[in-house]
């Protein structure tokens, strides 16, 4: 089973109906919409309607005097010049630039190692490295948060045992890196499995041909395997970028452990959340969510275009 034909075949409609009858065509439409209808109805309610509602909210403002009034693009101007928003964007940008390459790099190396057939117990590797993906972000953050802790965490243990003082992972200067570690831990295995699944369907005849040409193991990796899984690499990158821009769970949970390091505008999503739930600024929160969504879409789309073009 090769990758491309799958998607091509899937994309093309089923064979054209024989000109036997128009009734059959109508029956097809009816049945098709019957099966698809429930999904589309709920989809409209939880995807399309909120987007529309957010757009609607974003052009109004709730004023103390005079109530809600139409303000045009005023909220957008405010968001685009809001230092608290841009600070959060900068933070996820930094996070993205460091965490995503590290995570995908480790994931790729493990996938190549498992795929090379040169590991003892490769099934155990595959399962164990993927296991953290099953752990909820809440549990992962609590667990790591405790481990980071100087009171009864491993960091505290090490400090006591060696009489040293390690830098506090939950201090303002290190907390972003500590969050990066949690996210990496959660998703290395997931990305590894994406890469490994893609590697597994590379036809072995390609390796044989390369070996015939005298390519060594490493050369086969760089010249055959990596180009063959380009699609999976691009997809994993895009998913990771979207995930980074939407960073919320980990900082939100760690906030209780490190209230001074993680402010309410630490990342854009946390900012949106506190705007609407602590500040009751619903209109502005909706605007920030839209701006962030647009930024995410632009970055993800750019990566996709670049990733595909190089091929």
């Amino acid at each position: 089973m090769t990758l491309l034909p799958t998607s091509v075949r899937a994309a093309s409609p089923p064979p054209a109906p024989t000109p036997r009858s128009r009734r059959r065509l109508r029956r097809q439409s009816l049945a098709g919409w019957g099966f698809l209808g429930p999904f589309v109805a709920v989809f409209a309610l939880v995807f399309l309607a909120p987007i529309g509602y957010a757009l609607y909210l974003s052009v109004f403002k709730d004023k103390l005097i005079g109530g809600t009034s139409f303000v045009g693009l005023e909220n957008y101007t405010q968001a685009l010049t809001d230092p608290r928003f841009w600070e959060g964007v900068g933070r996820v940008g930094l996070f993205l630039a460091v965490q995503v390459p590290v995570m995908l790099g480790i994931a790729l190396l493990v996938a190549l190692a498992v795929d090379s057939g040169r590991l003892y117990g490769k099934a155990f590797f595959r399962i164990s490295v993927f296991l953290p993906y099953a752990v909820p972000a809440v549990v992962a953050s609590l667990m790591w948060g405790f481990i980071y802790g100087t009171r009864f965490g491993l960091v505290g243990n090490i400090n006591d045992a060696f009489g040293i003082t390690l830098p506090d992972p939950l201090s303002p200067s290190l907390v972003l890196a500590s969050i990066g570690n949690i996210v990496t831990w959660e998703f290395v295995g997931y990305n590894m499995l994406i890469f490994y699944s893609a590697l597994k369907v590379v036809p072995r005849s390609l390796y044989e041909a390369a070996a015939l040409d005298g390519a060594g193991e490493w050369r086969i990796v760089t010249s055959v395997k990596l180009p063959a899984i380009r699609g999976a690499l691009v997809i994993a990158t895009i998913f990771s970028i979207i995930g980074s821009f939407q960073l919320f769970n980990e900082p939100s949970i760690l906030q209780k452990l490190a209230p001074n390091a993680i402010t309410t505008d630490f990342v854009p999503n946390l900012y949106t959340y506190s705007l609407s739930f602590s500040g009751q600024q619903h209109n502005y929160a909706a605007t920030v969510a839209i701006v962030m969504g647009v930024i995410t879409a632009i970055v993800a789309y750019t990566v996709q275009l670049r990733g595909m073009r190089k091929g």
Partner: protein
């Protein structure tokens, strides 16, 4: 969609005699030649044939052999992945005192696992059990419902021609790129206008949509349900619903299990959506409950229930880890189909 491993090419019977260099060059030849390697005509340089026979051939891309250094290096990632879970298991056996003053990666003075579990379940009038039942409700209705909608929708997109089909497809694929959290705040505002917040529906309804699941089922249905079979059923006079249940659904089973697995895990682990939708602890899922205990423990004056948080965390991940281990081959098929998406 094979989920078994590639056959290990380094079976003992594959071992060829000759020097390592010869074995290496032999395995670079075509398969036919490799079956009958011509090492006999070449002179084993320096070593006797017997000594060379005892030595195993070197690893080559086509004929790999497990390597201890590579296993050790990759083992670092393995340790990284498992260590926090080991920490969790060990620390769920400790009481508060041991938790605070014994080494984190070894057991404390006492074995309190069962005591911890019973106290976790009983604390605050059995709040944990209540949250567990809520989570099950969200997982079964939300995750299960998402699977039903995805299977029906994917089947329709793959097997029927109808107006609007392409538009639906484009919109849904676009939606895959829209992160759930970006929609969460507008959805909350909308649901609160509709009076749905603070009810289970606020968590269940958004969980019903899985664009990824729809995509997966659509690819899967296109591959695994032959048009001829459906055509034959129609000619026999079978209605569309009957055809779906009797003929298509059994063929769609592996994909269905995959989608079910993904949507159940997503619902079980969900945090952001219930966080904004549910303020009443009566309707908390486990993730929110644990977070609330942690918030309480970190507040001055709140009861510091760290032992319960650690044990509760362990209890929260056990069911999902078990499901995951039992059905792991479905994960892989899901991810390999997912990585096709472009």
């Amino acid at each position: 969609m094979s989920t078994t491993d590639l056959p290990g090419p380094s079976r003992p019977t594959d071992r060829r005699g000759g020097t390592p260099e010869e074995a290496a060059s032999a395995s670079y030849r075509t398969e036919k030649e490799a079956e009958a390697p011509s090492y006999r005509t070449e002179k084993p340089s320096g070593t006797t044939v017997r000594a060379a026979r005892r030595r195993r051939p070197p690893s080559t891309p086509l004929n790999p052999r497990p390597s201890i250094p590579l296993t050790l290096v990759t083992g670092l990632v393995l340790v990284y992945s498992l260590l926090p879970l080991v920490w969790l298991v060990i620390n769920s056996t400790k009481d508060q005192r041991d938790l605070l003053d014994s080494f984190g990666l070894w057991f404390g003075r006492s074995m309190n696992l069962f005591d911890n579990i019973s106290r976790t379940l009983a604390y605050d009038d059995g709040a944990f059990v209540r949250w567990l039942l809520n989570t099950l409700l969200y997982v079964v209705v939300g995750g299960g419902g998402a699977t039903v909608l995805a299977v029906l929708g994917g089947y329709a997109l793959a097997k029927y021609r109808f107006p609007g089909r392409r538009a639906v497809f484009a919109v849904v694929l676009g939606a895959v790129a829209i992160p759930g959290t970006a929609l969460a705040v507008p959805t909350f505002l909308m649901f609160s206008e509709m009076g749905l917040t603070n009810t289970p529906w606020a968590v269940i309804i958004p969980s019903l949509i899985s664009p990824f699941g729809l995509y997966l089922m659509w690819v899967f249905a296109a591959e695994s349900v032959p048009d001829e079979l459906l055509e034959a059923a129609r000619i026999d006079g079978s209605g569309e619903l009957r055809t779906f249940f009797r003929i298509a659904l059994p063929l769609l089973m592996p994909g269905t299990v995959t989608v079910l697995l993904f949507s159940m895990v997503a619902t079980w682990n969900n945090y952001f959506l219930p966080l904004i939708m549910i303020k009443d602890p009566e309707w908390f899922p486990l993730t929110l409950g644990l977070n609330a205990w942690n918030a309480q423990a970190q507040t001055a004056g709140g009861e510091a229930v760290f032992d319960l948080i650690v044990t509760g965390s362990l209890l929260t991940i056990i069911p999902i880890v078990v499901v995951f281990l039992l059905l792991q081959r479905y994960w892989q098929s899901g991810l390999s189909a997912g990585s096709v998406k472009e």
